[in-house]
Every structure is written in C-alpha cells, then in structure tokens.
C-alpha cells in the first residue's frame, strides 16, 4: 500500500502526534522544558565561562591565589581567625563574573565555574543512567511478562529482592566495593574513577522500578485478543514482541525517562555527597555540596547553590515528566506517586 | 389524573466541554403518579439516565448546569437546600444503578451499607439497623440472609448484588424508586427475577421510574411509557396505547426492531437507519428528522409534545399514523432489500 498522509483525509492524527499536541498545550511542562534547556546550555558553556570570563581552572587549587574585588587585590583564601586558626575562609560571592562570581571553595576554586562543570557531570550521569535503566527495565519487564513460567518467576523474585532492598543502601554497597578496583564484568571494564561507574550502579538499582510496572502491562497484553491472533497466525515471537508488544509499552517507558532522570540525579548527588559517587578530580553538584560542608556556616553559598540547581533541575524534570505522563500514559507510575 | 408524585417541567441539562456546551436533556417534562410505573426508553445517549440523575441532583460535575423544575410532592428539588435534599435521597426517592458490580463500596459488608442508609435517615440503634438489613436481604430473596449480611460485595454474584442494592433502596420504604437499567448488566434469567422484585415493590405502593433501552422490559412492567430521543420526549402515554398505537416514527422503529417469538420469521430484523444523534449536535428542529423516512419541511421546526393522555412530538397528521407507519415500514424494507441485492 502506498498511502501518502494527504490521501488519508480522515486519518486520525495518531497517538504520538496527539501526545505532542497535548504536551505543547501544557504550559507548566513547556516552562519546565525551557528551564531544562537553559540549564543544559549553561553547562555546555562551562569551558567558555572558565576560560574567557572567569579566567580560571576550576579543577586546580588556588590556595595562594589572589583576585580583584572593587579594584583592590585580595587573597582568595584567608586563614580563619577563629578557633585554632587551622581552617581557611575562602572568598565569598563577589557578583562579578570575572572574579569569583559565587566565591571560592576551600581550595580557592571558582564555585560558579565548578557548578557549570559539575552540572555537566550530574546531567550526564542522570540522563545516561535513566536511559540505561529504562532500556534494561523495559527489556527485563517485557521478557518476564511475555515468557511467563519459570523465566518470569525467577526474574520476578530477583526484582522483588532488589525492590525490597533500600535503594540508597544498595547503591552505597555497590559503590564502596567498586570504587577501589572498578568493575570487570566479562568484556566490560569500567575504570575505578570513571563516570560510568555511578552510571552503571544507578542504572542497576532502579531496574525494578521500570521492570515491575512494565511486566504487569505485558502480562495484561499477553491475554489480549490481538496477541492471541498474532500467535495464532504463526508470527515468530520476536516479531510479535517488536510489532505488537513493544509499541504498547514504549509510551510508558518514555514517561518514565524524565522521572527516572530526576531520581538518578538525586541518587548521584547523594552518593557523591557521601563521597562514594563521582570521584575527584571530576566534580558534580553532589561533590560540590560535600566540598561546602565544612564551610556551611561561613560560606553557605558553596552548599546552597549546587543544591538549588539540583532541586530546580529535578523539579523541572518531574514537572516535564508529569506532562509527558498526562500526554502519553496517565496511569504510568514509578514506585509510589512519582 | 391524581396529583402527581413527581412532576418534572422543562428540565434542561447541559455540559460545558472543551468544544462548547453540549445539551444532554433539552426541555424534558413528565410526571409520575403515586404507585405508578413509568418506563423510560431510548437509545444510549438519549438523555434518559442523565435526566434521572438530574432529578436527584446527582450530577456533581461542576461543568454541568441543570435548569427547570423538579416538583416532588409539590416541592422543587432543584431549589432545595443540600440538607433537605439529602433527607429526600434514599428516604423518599431511592435509586438503583445499572452496574451492580461497582455500585457497592468494596470495603464494607453488604449489611453495613444497608444499615448505613437506615441510620442516615432514622434514629435507630446499630443493632436494629442490622436486623432490618437482614430482613430486607431476605425480602429481596437472598437465601441465608442472616449470614450473608456479613458478606462483602465481592463475595456476591452480580444478581445477588443487584438484589442487595435494591434491598438498600427499599430500606426506607421510598415513595419513588428510580431504577436505571437495573437488569442490563445481568443474565437473562436473573433479569426476570429482578423485574419481579421491582413489580413486587410496586405492589407495596412505591412508584417506579424504570429506565431501559429494552422495549420488552417496558411492555412487561410499565403503566406508562416515555420514549426519549436526543434529550427530548418523543412520545408519552399509557403502555397499551404506546404499544398498540405508537404515534412517533422513532417509537415505530423501536417496536419494529424487537424480535417476536410468535411472529413471522424475518430474514433480517428491521433497524432504524442512520446513527443516533450525539448530544453535541442535536438539530434545531425535530431531533429524529435526519433518520426519519417521513420527514418533510415542517420538521425543520421543533415539534412540541402534544396530545391528551397519549402525547407525541411529531408534525405528521395526527389521524392516520397507523397508515403512515405501514408506508414507512414498506419503504424501509424496500431499502433493505435493495441493500441486500446490491450486496449479493
């Protein structure tokens, strides 16, 4: 058949186009998407900012560096006058993009530049982990739900156990073990300091979040007439999965992507905060919060700024995710109401 | 005619939707006398259920506007304060819904739910209410009611649940029972039992409004019949009159499409041509005109429901409707034959 879209005058717009139209009319989702776009663009500009505006290397200590505030040259770090005098107080926000806009951390590094670079890391880990989880989770859920029997029983029990295990605890256990030596799993080798390590860990722990609801969906689909019809007509299993099952579960999986990204970013930041996530010299928003821990009462910006960015980004992802959910599959739920 | 128990005048229900206002009930008027059974028939979307929900003010969607008058024992229900309306619901007017599977709250026992209604309207102890619930369940024919009273809805079959819902409706001996397709979701054998139950209830003095799309059900039980189409009354009258001398072409179609056990074997059951009107675009004039084989210029204008005891809303000359019906029927079967030939 060779029907061009214009010939089929009474063709309905199709689910994807309807969903896109719904999403375009959802103002809060659009605002969230715009916000995300700004955050992504800003982090992409990190080297530009560091090299051409701030003129500083945010991965290098500037313990004895100086900068200019209000025309006067001042040290970036001053020894603290209180207590034993062992600590240092970095320079606070100057609101001058060329000279430590948001101040420095306790190694004299430009917080703003680190925020931009850290955002790249956080977003990279969040997005790749979420995509990986959704792909693996969908595959596992579809296989378990469609195969049934022993395969389903085994997969479901494994998922149950991971599901019952507090996620952060599981992530921390995995991180602690893998951080020293990296991961060697057959042909895949992940270096200890690599960003792919937190990606793999976060992706692994959230698989049940995706696989369980999708398995349930496939179980329902499995008993639908059109699947019986496809089986009855002798179609090979792979084709049934590809042509009949997947198109019905992919919308749900897509709904999970932004929500999962938010969850992955929060998890990454928590792991990094506990120093079992992103490892130096890499920076992420979580590690910057950890850096700011000792400075909380003197230079709170170092802690507050990355936290606000995480909150803002995850909130935008959640709002966007809600919009995508409303447009594609209103019944899709991750664990809980998220 | 005695003073009516329920007198509905010019009832209008419209829904606000994304694409504009949709009129579901458009100037409906009817009345129910004490102790009478009124059968309300019509296709899906004819506004029969919506109008009854409007009578009891059960349309809670904020996008709905209801206007007109609903006089129950002389009081306008639409103007009543919420509190007084609640005292009427369940006590004086009870309602039974179509799907017994979902009509009961799943987490409470059947007896609890019946007792809840009794205690909402009468000052009786929990124990007494529970005892009444047992009595009611056994009245509606649930065996071993004393123990079944503590069963949960999911432990009942569909027919049993509908009995339980009816028992609940009867609990305060209402003057009027509105039954919205009470048998549609049930097996045929159970349907007959439920109809018997409603008939018994009517024998005890309650008036009944029975909503259905099944002419057979109406012919068994109704004293009077109201035929609705497109949110308006098409025909109204005593059962015998409507069944033996139907006046509106839509009623003809409804009656002709019922298979007859004793009648001639038809090659194919007659159907009403065309699609039912959707509440979104009811024509200015007669709502049935687009599907009517006898439509003429006059039908551009909206016909009023007129007549003495047997009323109808149609512009055809009132005297020779029987002859016109035969004409319509033969032209319909000719069209069907042509279709069949063309197909074969």
């Amino acid at each position: 058949m060779n029907l061009s879209p214009s010939v089929g005058a009474r063709r309905s717009p199709g689910p994807w186009r309807t969903a896109a139209a719904d999403l375009v009319h959802n103002r809060s989702a659009l605002a969230a998407a715009a916000l995300l776009l700004i955050v992504v663009l800003a982090t992409l500009c990190a080297p530009l900012y560091a090299d051409h505006i701030a003129h500083t290397d945010p991965f290098q200590s500037h313990v004895s560096g100086t900068t200019v505030v209000g025309g006067k040259t001042v040290p970036v770090l001053t020894p603290s006058s209180t207590g034993l005098g062992l600590g240092v107080t970095p320079i606070g926000p100057t609101w001058d993009p060329a000279h430590y806009l948001l101040g420095a951390d306790n190694q004299g590094r430009d917080v703003m530049a680190r925020l931009l670079y850290g955002g790249r890391t956080s977003l990279f880990i969040g997005v790749t982990a979420a995509l990986l989880t959704c792909v693996i989770g969908t595959a596992v859920g579809v296989v378990a739900g469609y195969a049934g029997g022993v395969v389903d029983a085994v997969i479901s029990r494994i998922l149950d156990v991971i599901w019952a295990f507090p996620v952060y605890l599981l992530a921390i256990c995995l991180s602690v073990v893998l951080l020293t030596n990296g991961l060697k799993l057959g042909p895949i080798t992940v270096e200890a300091g690599s960003l792919w390590l937190p990606v793999a860990i976060i992706a692994a722990i959230y698989v049940p979040y995706i696989a369980r609801p999708l398995r349930g969906q496939v179980l329902v689909l499995r008993n639908k007439e059109f699947i019986h019809a496809a089986i009855g007509s002798g179609a090979p299993t792979l084709r049934i999965l590809r042509r009949e099952v997947l198109p019905n579960v992919v919308p749900t999986a897509i709904v999970f992507v932004p929500l999962m990204t938010a969850l992955a970013m929060l998890t990454e930041s928590a792991l990094s905060f506990l120093s079992v996530g992103v490892q130096p010299p890499e920076a992420s928003w979580g590690t910057i919060i950890e850096d700011g821990l000792g400075l909380l009462y003197t230079r709170p910006t170092v802690t507050i700024a990355p936290g606000l960015l995480i909150a803002l980004t995850t909130a935008a992802l959640n709002v966007l995710g809600d919009g995508v959910r409303d447009a594609l599959d209103p019944s899709a739920r991750l664990r809980g109401g998220v | 005619m005695p003073e009516p128990l329920l007198d509905v005048r010019d009832l209008r229900v419209s829904f606000r939707t994304r694409t504009g206002a949709v009129t579901a009930v458009d100037g409906l008027s009817f009345s129910v006398a004490p102790g009478e059974v009124l059968g309300v028939v019509g296709e899906s979307g004819s506004g029969k259920s919506v109008s009854m929900l409007a009578v009891l003010r059960l349309l809670t969607n904020p996008n709905v506007t209801v206007s007109g008058e609903v006089l129950f024992r002389g009081r306008d229900l639409l103007a009543l304060p919420d509190k007084e309306m609640r005292a009427i619901r369940g006590r004086e007017i009870a309602m039974v819904f179509q799907d017994p599977m979902t009509a009961l709250t799943p987490v409470y026992t059947v007896g609890w739910q019946i007792a809840e209604q009794i205690r909402a309207h009468e000052q009786v102890s929990r124990k007494k209410a529970q005892a009444r619930a047992v009595q009611l369940l056994s009245d509606v024919g649930i065996p071993d009611a004393a123990s079944r009273v503590n069963a949960y809805p999911h432990e009942f079959s569909g027919g049993m649940r509908q009995r339980a819902v009816i028992a609940m409706a009867l609990s305060c001996s209402p003057a009027l029972l509105i039954a919205d397709e009470p048998t549609t979701a049930l097996d045929v054998t159970v349907q007959a039992q439920i109809l018997d139950l409603i008939r018994e209830l009517n024998g005890l003095g309650s008036a009944v409004v029975l909503i259905t799309h099944d002419m057979g059900v109406v012919s068994q039980i109704a004293d009077r019949v109201l035929v609705m189409y497109g949110g308006r009354a098409a025909e109204e009258g005593p059962r015998r009159a409507v069944f033996h001398g139907p006046r509106h072409p839509y009623t003809w179609g409804l009656l002709d499409s019922v298979p007859r056990v004793g009648g001639a074997r038809l090659r194919r059951l007659p159907t009403i041509a065309g699609m039912p009107v959707s509440p979104g675009n009811i024509p200015e004039g007669c709502a049935f005109a687009p599907r009517c084989r006898l439509r003429h210029d006059r039908c551009e204008e909206r016909p009023a429901l007129s007549g003495d005891t047997h009323l109808d809303a149609c512009w055809l000359p009132p005297d020779d409707r029987a002859a016109l019906r035969l004409t319509a029927r033969s032209s319909a079967s000719a069209a069907t034959d042509m279709d069949t030939e063309a197909a074969s």
């Binding site: 029990r157 019952a164 605890l169 929060l266 | 709250t105 949960y152």
Partner: protein, 322 residues
C-alpha cells in the same frame, strides 16, 4: 489462614536469605575486588594479605564463608568488627535501633497526617487555588536532595536565625527518649520535619489521584443516592478506599527507612542510628558490621511488608482470600 501465614512467613525468610546472599556476593564475590586487600590496607605485603585471608576464612570456598559469617552473626552472635577489633556488631545495632525508630516513626506520623490532609484537600478543592499549591509542595518534596535540605535546615536553625527565632533549637545530636522526653522531641523535631517533607508531598499527590478516582466511582454515586452527607461520603467511602494503595506504599517506604534509607538524614543531623552506623562501616569497609546492619535492614523491610499484608487484608476485604 494458618497456611497463608506459614506461606507468608516462608516467603519472608526467603527474601531475607536472598538479601543476605546478595550483600554477601556484593562484598565477597564482586569481580576484581579482593576483600582481604581492603581489610589489610592498601600497601599490605603478601604475607599480611595471606594472614588476613586465613583469619577471616577468605581462603575457604564461598558457601562456607557465607555460612561462617551467618553463624557468627545469628548463632554465636559474637561477630566482631574488622576495623575496631573487640567491638561486637550486635550490641552496636541494638544501640542504634531506637534512634532510627525514633526518627522514622515520628517522621512517618507527620508525613502521613500531612499527606492525607493535603491529598484529600487537594482532591476536594480540585481546580481551586489550594490544589496547585499542594501539588507544588509535592513536586518540591520529590525534587529536593534529602541531605541538602538537612544542611539548609541546620544552617538556618544553627546559624542564620539561631540568635533570634531558633534560639531554642539544640545542637545536632540525639538524646534518649527515656533520658529526657522533652529534649528527645526537641532534638528530633527538625530531623522529623525534614524527612517528613520529602514524603508528605508524594503521599499527598498519590492520595489526591486516588481520591479523585474514587469520587468518580459508582459506589460514591450510590452513597450520594443513599442521602449521606458529602463529608461522610468523602471520608467513609472515597478516602477509605483510597487508603489501600497508600498503605502498601507506606509499608515499603517505612521498612526501607527503618532499614537504612534514613541514612542521609541521620548523617546530616548527627543521629547515631542504623543509617549512620552503616555509613561509618561502609567508609571503612567493615564487612561484619555491614552484613549485620544490612541483615537488620532486611529484617525490618520484611517485617514491614508482612505487617502491611496484614493491614492490607484488614483494609481490603478482597485481599483476604488471595
């Protein structure tokens, strides 16, 4: 009923066993990781490594090693920390448990109350000003990093406003309930609120959706037709049925939190609970302590799930025969 209970018990044991095996495998069988190297320190010579291997039974086959660990943990109950030789694992856990329970139970009471009130209010006020506000709180709750929120709360109550509004807030730490109930509550107040804020929004959002669905159910129409008051319909019918999915989520969350998911809040507020214990042990790769706390976690998760099953059956008669 007895067979149901036995089955439930059996599956609970199975989950606990599976979790212990999972943790054991993570620490002892992860490819490329040598636990002896972690224990002996980074630059240990081969002789030390061999000694460590032997003394911890690391040269024995895997199942034996697992059984040895379990025997020390459960039967002899004399498992000792690898790092702080001489300090036993079980007493540490026993000591940390009330701290975690205080934190989680208090926070749970707050978030359930707030969640149910907000969710029900949002469902009944749909489309009015309060509804989007409550939904906003929900989004904030799922978007804030727990530890960061704790830090900010500390900053405000301990530094920025400590000399004015929050002068009554004690420094971070824990005071036992039996020692001084007033101080206990005072010390726990902000940890409770912080933890509760993260969950109240999720519960409110979930409940809002459930109540809205329930209010459109046929049984609510029946209840209205019975002449019940709107209040009674909302609470006794719609809300009652909506609580069923909430309770099953609550069981999971509560079990996870008691089992160590409150770790971040405990670390930030300096509460010496199970999460903090696990965290400290993880920092040192103190395997026996980790095994102990994780099994404890599994115990609570499984216990919470079993309790939820019972509660679920009480709430939903349809589940009783499953």
């Amino acid at each position: 009923m007895l067979s149901f209970a036995l089955k439930r018990f059996g599956s609970a044991l199975l989950v606990m066993f599976a979790i212990s095996v999972l943790v054991f495998l993570i620490f002892f069988a992860t490819p490329g990781v040598d636990p002896a190297a972690r224990i002996a320190g980074r630059n240990a010579d081969p002789a030390t490594l061999a000694q460590v291997r032997h003394s911890f039974g690391l040269d024995r086959p895997m199942p034996i090693r697992y059984l040895l660990m379990m025997r020390h943990l459960l039967i002899d109950r004399d498992l000792e920390s690898f790092v702080n030789r001489g300090s036993r694992v079980i007493p540490q856990i026993v000591q940390a448990t009330p701290v975690t329970l205080s934190l989680v139970i208090g926070a749970a009471l707050i978030w359930m109350t707030a969640g149910i009130l907000m969710g029900t209010a949002a469902a009944t006020l749909r489309g009015k000003a309060a509804d989007p506000l409550i939904m906003l709180v929900g989004v904030v709750g799922v978007s804030l990093p727990a530890y960061w929120l704790g830090e900010v709360v500390n900053l405000i109550t301990q530094k920025q406003l400590h000399s004015s509004v929050f002068s009554w807030v004690p420094p971070p730490g824990y005071v036992g309930l039996s020692q001084d109930p007033g101080q206990w509550a005072l010390h726990m107040l902000f940890p409770w609120l912080t933890l509760a804020l993260l969950y109240a929004g999720i519960y409110a959002r979930l409940l809002r959706g459930e109540v809205i669905t329930a209010l459109n159910e046929d049984y609510v129409r029946t209840a209205r037709a019975k002449g019940l008051s709107e209040r009674r319909i909302l609470i006794r019918h719609a809300l009652r049925c909506s609580l069923i999915p909430i309770v099953s989520l609550f069981g999971l969350d509560f079990g996870a939190l008691v089992g160590g998911a409150a770790l971040l809040t405990e670390v930030v507020f300096g509460l010496p609970g199970i999460g903090k214990l696990t965290y400290d042990a993880l920092q040192n790769l103190d395997l026996p302590v980790i095994m102990g706390t994780v099994l404890y976690a599994a115990f609570f998760v499984v216990l919470a799930n079993a309790l939820v099953d019972i509660l679920y059956a009480r709430l939903d008669p349809r589940a009783r025969h499953a």
